[in-house]
Symmetry: C2
Subunit: 184 residues, 2 copies
């Protein structure tokens, strides 16, 4: 089931993959997939061996309101990455950068499980939300790679709140500020 | 010589590695290293098989002046990455993310050959220049990974000037704007 799910999510994306089609290709009943995994979100997280379930910690990020969103997103990212999930998260990023298939799965994870939920709180049309989410992704991915993979100083040894103060305003601008958005 | 150079740059960093020590460990005369490579910069670029020599294109980036620096840095990054060097540059990034040794070399490349030259034009103390350079790195690395590796839309298919307009102001703020800098 998980092999069929990985193939479907990588080939058709999160939106294009259906539980029905995944069940068919795995030779099982769709009800069984629902029984084991509950939702497509859950199946997807299991298929990519996600080190964390964004649905669990995003409500806290969003609770601070629109104007705190930038800093809160950076704070939560660092809490996950500075915690016990770091090795698994690092393994996922390494694999995604080295392998086109995993890259597609990580992109789908970021877009469908993280960014879309963050930008859903914005009062903006879908194309604008997508562009703002992608800009946020560009800053967060770079923070992760610079701090945890390349270990560029002073980012690598900075305290989380220092990075929230420096980078939070960038994320806030991408989310709610005046930006000339690409693709529009 | 290049093997000895790679080991020295990865272990001791660009600043800590000396041509004399590299020559000794390769069992050759330092004059020979100078003869073949000219400078430590050149030896380093050869050792990491750098797809481009930043010394060649950075003068153009810097010529626009301080207030244009953010947009010009993004524009040049995209020109290099959208050009014929993309496969080699992508291979270097993939290798750096997958391998700690190459990660150190890529970090030294970014810091010593790119960021230091960009922030050298700022009228600021060294620790501030280092912090501003690292923040710039976090945004540029993320742009590269989001656009070329994970192919997050609309970044992946945006025209370069759209990305200059959206992301240039972030880089400009990191370089010359009011930022609470980490590590100070």
């Amino acid at each position: 089931m998980l092999t069929a799910a990985r193939a479907a999510f990588a080939e058709r994306g999160f939106d294009g993959a259906s539980i029905r089609a995944i069940a068919t290709s795995a030779g099982v009943d769709p009800a069984l997939v629902h029984h084991y995994f509950g939702s497509k979100d859950q199946l997807f997280l299991a298929a990519i061996e996600a080190p964390a379930n964004p649905a669990e910690f995003l409500p806290e990020v969003l609770a601070g309101g629109r104007d705190e969103l930038g800093g809160n997103v950076v704070r939560m990212l660092l809490r996950v990455w500075d915690g016990p999930m770091q090795p698994a998260a690092l393994a996922l990023v390494r694999s995604a950068v080295g392998n086109e298939w995993t890259a597609k799965l990580l992109r789908e994870f970021l877009v469908s499980q993280v960014l879309r939920r963050v930008v859903a709180t914005l009062d903006a049309p879908p194309a604008e939300r997508e562009a703002r989410g992608a800009l946020v992704a560009s800053q967060l991915i770079g923070l992760v790679v610079a701090r945890y993979v390349l270990r560029v100083e002073p980012l690598a040894s900075a305290a989380p709140e220092e990075l929230v103060a420096a980078i939070g305003p960038t994320v806030q601008r991408y989310l709610t500020g005046e930006v000339e958005l690409p693709g529009r």
